[in-house]
Subunit: 482 residues, 2 copies
């Protein structure tokens, strides 16, 4: 049976939680009295289905079942995780928590998305204070990994551990905040920037667009991969962090910023901000902005996968927990994945390069199957590609799932010739890739024989696959008639 | 004759300016009395050569000439741009500016990298105040596009315009700040975050690593592509920015943050930060951290090229100004570029996929040559790849330059068969790619004849290239003996 998450409050944040759990294979029940809730949740889900699977080079678990309930009891019953995302009013949160706890299992986690309240405030007068914990996520919840995990002094370690484990299992990064404070950590930093931004607008120094540009063309890029301190550690250079701070510190005393005060949010200031924001971004609908944001996030996070920095490391870890489908069609399935937006080109379909990228992943997966894995490569041996032939049989669109089977055509001595077939979800074969791999001594940079263990496993597949007929499309030159 | 930039002060920031100008084809002269200046500049240059060209899919101009001078007069003479990056002490800056202006051409731009001072302060008592302007960059200067461009009331518009033009021509994003204030814009926002961060550490709420995590796993990713306001515009959803601010505003009055004060930077606090930073990042040298940062920045900025958002848009614009080498070897050169770090795989060389990525760029460039360009595609016609055969002849390492020539093997009716040869800098052929393209009606999604204009140009090349012999390696199947 699937795990079950109950989401109470289905706005932008609640909807993001729905998507995060559902796309990671959990069943999800929702309680939200808003008559528009279903439409809103489906809009968030549509964005999430378009982007979250694109982070991974393996397919996510089969989506769970989504149910909207008219009363809180049905939604909460038997949920392993309950997430409260109602508006930021303490008396409302208390009321909802009381209702939830009448029906909640004692050992389920009750997380609150609050950005401001401390867990001890939420726990006050609760039926079961120990199960309540702050789990504050960031929009879009289905893509950004951060969750501020804040226990109070009465929260048992076991609850913290269970919450961490579940959040990690759905691809998130729980940041355990050891002492509860108002607004946790991230929102304190955000608030500081936000206030300073308001002064810059009020004093007519800069517009919303100029402030955004000052962020995204400069330190925003730094902060997406390292944070404040690691970045400055580098700026300090060989002299080290201590030297940097001693030098930099006195600047903080300069009367630069307006931070001692908040500008009055008069109608006139609100209008000014809204008008500037319209001028900056009004040519795009919210939906278009969301898709742009999500495509950019996916693209950047995929780039970070390469080094394993920041969000890239979280994705890599999560990916190792994703299972490949079991073998079928007598051939091993070496790739099963969604086609990310970033693989689409100006012709509106998967670019020719990414057919090879997927095939290359299939070769890697087959190498792992025969023991030519990361450890083997670290020991100084690998396979290099000598030649490749691809037939493009059908278009593939972003968001589609593809799978690849791998047949060994030759597997003897230094040579390994593979034939990958790429299939769409409907079973159609969309491409074939024939590739000749040569076993290499990485130190000498010349061909060599594989280890006995690798040779044996390769031979096993070569023999099994030799009983099949030679695939149509193999041994062809470019332009040869079928 | 090349343009000449003079960099006064060769630290991390000055060295970054050296690299930015030099790699964009400017001659650069440096004045810095530090006996270590040459070593330090060369270290920055090494990082820059490794990363800046990787942002582009075309080769940058030939590097200019770098000269270090022992006196300021020789360095300054005939420079079109002079950049002052000496330590942040106003009297020192006044002294250096006075020396510079004794030798500077009247129409050169004299930019200051100051992060705190206003241009009017720098201009005080200067020989030629009108040529002085603040051009405040961000580390690493060779990668991050942002430059805060701040004139004073006496700065002529012509100087602002010339400065903008030059900064854009070296791939940067001048952000024109219309009213001078202390610390411009970005550093005000940074200062706000920095102060709040210090309080979080002093109060033992969070460590440097936890604060960095709160940034890079959450809003840092948002800010790398959109800024503060565009992100919140999305959060406001359909109700709009005005609604969002009216709702959000009251939260700012909550007594969350410590921003009314700066913690004393006592020895004990400085030590605590330094120790936490060591625990967080001490396992990597500054050099390793720099390379990690740069690889991540390049990867993310390349991802942003796809949508043209933020830094990606700046790179795309700059790329259109880069010229291809002139035709040689009777065949058109369709690609000339550096191999980015991100194209390297676990075997320590360019991945098989990226040989095809470069070849695909060659096909695109050849399509442009025959008029099957972006406008043609927008009109509903394009070429799709039907089949491709690649021979991998030699390894290519990240940082190497490659170029591709394109020969037409067939160009009649719906068919276009191309033969790309990929060459390393030393002239060795490292791969060939034979590819069959079919002309498509994009609306009907079926093959069609090209326009008369495209057919004519394709025919021109097909005829010219048919006089050459059929290339070795064409018409081969995978594993065929030469």
């Amino acid at each position: 049976m699937n795990n079950k998450a109950c989401i109470v409050g289905g706005g932008v944040i609640g909807g993001g939680w729905v998507a995060r759990f559902l796309l990671n294979g959990w069943d999800v029940s929702v309680y939200d009295p808003d008559p528009e809730a279903e439409r809103k949740i489906n809009e968030v889900l549509e964005n999430a289905r378009r982007s979250l699977p694109s982070l991974y080079d393996k397919v996510l678990p089969t989506e769970g079942e989504l149910k909207l309930h008219e009363n809180i009891a049905d939604a909460v019953v038997n949920a392993n995780w309950i997430q409260e995302s109602v508006p930021e009013r303490l008396e409302l949160k208390h009321k909802i928590i009381k209702q939830i706890q009448q029906y909640a299992n004692e050992d389920s986690v009750l997380g609150s998305s609050t950005s401001g309240f401390k867990p001890s405030e939420l726990q006050k007068n609760a039926l079961n204070p120990q199960q309540i914990i702050v789990t504050h996520p960031f929009n879009p919840v289905y893509l950004l990994p951060l969750v501020e995990l804040v226990p109070s002094v009465v929260t048992p370690v076991t609850v913290v551990d269970r919450a961490k484990e579940i959040l990690i299992s759905i691809g998130m990064k729980p940041l355990h905040i050891r002492k509860e404070i108002d607004a946790h950590i991230a929102d304190r930093l955000l608030e500081a920037v936000w206030r300073e931004g308001l002064w810059l607008i009020k004093d007519e120094i800069a517009t919303t667009e100029e402030i955004d540009d000052a962020i995204r063309f400069g330190f925003g890029l730094r902060w997406a991969q390292m944070g404040l301190f690691e970045t400055y550690r580098i700026a300090g250079g060989e002299a080290g962090m201590k030297h940097f701070i001693s030098q930099f510190g006195p600047c903080l005393e300069w009367p630069w910023s307006k931070l001692t005060d908040v500008p009055d949010l008069t109608d006139s200031l609100i209008n000014e901000i809204a008008e500037q924001s319209d001028a900056q971004s009004g040519h795009l609908s919210i939906r278009e902005l969301e898709q742009l944001r999500d495509d950019n996030l996916v693209g950047m996070m995929r780039a970070l996968k390469k080094s394993g920095s920041g969000a890239g490391g979280i994705i890599n870890c999560h990916e190792t927990t994703l299972r490949m489908p079991v073998e079928e069609k007598q051939l091993p399935i070496t790739v099963s994945r969604q086609v990310p937006q970033s693989w689409t080109d100006y012709n509106g379909h998967m670019n020719e390069t990414n057919y090879l990228e997927a095939s290359s992943q299939a070769t890697d997966a087959f190498m792992e199957l025969i023991g030519a894995d990361a450890n083997y490569i670290a020991s100084g041996y690998s396979y290099f590609t000598a030649e490749t032939h691809i037939r493009y049989l059908a278009e593939v669109k972003a968001g589609e799932n593809i799978s690849i089977t791998t047949q060994v055509l030759t597997g003897e001595g230094k040579k390994m010739k593979l034939f990958h077939r790429i299939f769409a979800t409907n079973g159609d074969m969309v491409a074939t890739c024939e590739t000749l791999q040569l076993h290499m001594d990485l130190k000498a940079r010349c061909t060599s024989l594989p280890s006995a263990a690798v040779a044996e496993k390769l031979n096993f597949y070569a023999k099994a696959h030799s009983e099949m007929s030679s695939p149509e499309g193999s041994g062809r030159y470019v332009g040869q008639r079928p």
